[in-house]
């Protein structure tokens, strides 16, 4: 069961990474990142069957932090939307070089 859970976690993480690499919409990108974090959470939970509660505690932390990140992240996306009227990352490249 542990191995399967870890494998699923890895697959989910990879899907998240691929999403980040391929999608151009800031919100979807952010959701892919959330997917990555949750994949890791799965690993933690699975591993805590081996080592006790630490993994589960970690998951709580992670979710909290992810929530805070989401709040800030969405605010930032709104801020950029005000300037560019778009959340497509391809249009956002004032800074380069």
């Amino acid at each position: 069961m542990l191995v399967e859970a870890l494998a699923l976690s890895a697959v989910l993480f990879t899907i998240g990474v691929v999403g980040v690499l391929t999608r151009r919409n800031a919100i979807i990108l952010f959701m892919c990142i959330e997917l990555m974090l949750n994949a890791v959470n799965l690993s933690f939970v699975a591993l805590s069957t081996l080592y006790g509660a630490t993994g589960q505690v970690f998951v709580v932390f992670t979710m909290t932090v992810a929530a805070a990140e989401a709040a800030v992240g969405l605010a930032i996306i709104i801020a950029i939307f005000r300037h560019t009227r778009s959340v497509n990352l391809q249009n956002i490249n004032l800074l380069k070089g």
Binding site: S9, A26, L37, L47, Y51, E69, I77, I92, G97
Partner: protein, 504 residues
């Protein structure tokens, strides 16, 4: 005294300075929100923040001089922590001092800006204390979330928003890797406590454990991103350019210092026994960072971007200290960090001054002939550039910083002579752009119709003067600082089995 970290009240005591800063920051937050936005209010809150930082510094120093230690637990109580705290607090102090005048000039009204700096600093202090991967994660996020916001502080500037977004997205992405790395390390060793991991690594055969290896690699990715080491540096130039300049300075110094401090502690305390595994990757990471940072900086026209690439190169230099895997390396690291922080801060202060209202004059052309209009500023900038370059006497403490790093590299049990040569050769490349700044300021005439460089505010001038003075004085008599950095090495409660030798 020895804190018993299993005892909650003693744990709280061991968190003393961090708690002071956090509590103070919350009070300031309330005060900031209490009154409508205005310059006076912004200024007042800023001053309050400065006072708070000073108080925290005082408390930290008091803690540091008491020779405290602790039992094994989630946080460390050692001089390395206090030293890192002080460097971060210094950075925060400088950032707020610059911000007060910068924000007024750029009409960035929210007084909460200063409080955010304080929160970020609190995150750094947590990071500095962390002796558990959980705390590491918490600290990094506490710091980062505040910085994401700070980077986008200038709501009128699309660049600021863009930088903030990029930092946020890529930062979260990298956090994913870091977290996964933590999970894998936890999965293979069964602990998140650094010292425990360290002991298990030494006792077990983790060097061939794939999960542990991948976990270590992902940790390296996570830290590499936070310290902007190539190839995980791509965000840095854009974010540095977009962010308000005082925040850029803050990011280039305090954020980097805190991230590196944790990095170093994790590497020394937890992964010291895995040297064979990470030696080559860290070596190459250092080399690539030095190379990329220094070469790309050559083609920059914008001084802020130039300094961003320079900071990437400096990450490479600091990675050399990590690669040594010794306590001497950590002492060299702290010393270098002081030198680097001073010079970077000063340089960004000058960039702010020359940038003028709207921060529109940040290109090298705008520095042309600075010597004829603002000789003091030009000379100070010259000192900063030379210090970043590692030039003796005129570059002050920068030289001894590099010297210490090189010495640590050459005397490491696994000598890094080649890496030292790479370091000096890329330093030569760096001369190409640092000297270019000098050239532009001193050797070109001030162009006709160039904008007038306003006299900087008293706080900005204070920052410039203080950094120049510190750089030059430490450049002639560095022994106190050396002694301090040698005393401030990580000390785990149990004897480390990892290969370390006494620092010099």
């Amino acid at each position: 005294m020895i804190f018993d970290l299993a005892n909650p009240s003693q744990l709280m005591q061991a968190f003393g300075p961090d708690l002071l800063l956090m509590a103070g920051a919350m009070v300031l937050m309330l005060w900031a929100a209490w009154r409508p936005e205005s310059h006076e209010h912004q200024r007042a809150v800023g001053m309050g923040a400065l006072v708070l930082i000073a108080a925290t510094m005082g408390l930290t120093i008091w803690y540091a001089t008491r020779g405290l230690s602790s039992t094994l637990g989630v946080i460390a109580v050692d001089n390395f922590r206090w030293a890192t705290d002080l460097i971060c607090l210094l950075g925060a102090f400088g950032a707020i001092a610059l911000s007060i005048e910068y924000n007024a000039r750029e009409r960035i009204m929210p007084a909460e800006a200063h409080v955010l700096v304080l929160f970020a600093t609190a995150g750094m202090m947590v990071l500095a204390a962390a002796r558990d991967l959980m705390i590491v994660f918490l600290g990094i996020e506490l710091m980062s979330v505040a910085i994401y916001v700070l980077a986008g502080l200038n709501r009128r500037s699309p660049k600021s928003a863009e930088g903030s977004l990029k930092y946020f997205l890529l930062g979260a992405f990298a956090t994913g890797f870091l977290l996964y790395g933590i999970a894998l390390v936890y999965g293979s060793t069964g602990s998140t406590n650094l010292v425990e991991i360290g002991q298990r690594v030494v006792n077990g055969n983790y060097i061939v454990h794939p999960m542990m290896l991948v976990g270590t690699g992902l940790l390296l990715v996570g830290f590499g991103f936070k310290v902007a080491a190539a190839p995980f540096h791509m965000w840095a130039p854009d974010v540095y350019e977009g962010a308000p300049t005082p925040i850029t300075a803050f990011m280039a110094t305090a954020v980097k210092a805190a991230a590196f401090a944790t990095f170093l502690r994790v590497w020394l305390e937890a992964l010291g026994g895995m040297g064979d595994a990470w030696f080559a990757p860290v070596w190459w990471l250092a080399a690539v960072a030095m190379f990329v940072g220094n070469t790309v900086a050559l083609s920059q026209r914008n001084v802020k971007r130039l300094l961003a690439y320079s900071s990437i190169a400096h990450s490479g230099y600091l990675l050399v200290a990590v690669a040594t895997g010794t306590l001497a390396g950590s002492a060299a690291f702290l010393f270098y960090l002081v030198a680097y922080t001073l010079a970077s801060f000063g340089a960004f202060a000058i960039v702010i001054t020359v940038g003028s209202t709207g921060d529109v004059h940040g290109n090298l052309e705008d520095f042309e002939g600075l010597w004829s209009v603002r000789p003091g500023m030009a000379i100070a900038m010259g000192v900063f550039m030379l210090s970043l370059m590692g030039f003796p006497i005129f570059g002050g403490v920068g030289f001894f910083g590099k010297w210490y790093l090189l010495m640590a590299a050459i005397e490491a049990p696994r000598p890094l002579t080649t890496l030292a040569v790479v370091l000096v050769l890329t330093s030569v490349v760096s001369a190409g752009y640092y000297l270019n700044v000098l050239r532009v300021m001193f050797m070109k005439p001030r162009p006709e119709g160039a904008p007038v460089v306003e006299r900087a505010g008293v706080l900005t001038r204070g920052v410039v003067f203080a950094t120049v003075l510190a750089i030059l004085v430490l450049g002639v008599i560095p022994s106190r600082a050396i002694g301090w950095s040698r005393a401030s090495i990580p000390r785990a409660p149990q004897v480390q089995a990892a290969a370390v030798n006494a620092p010099r």
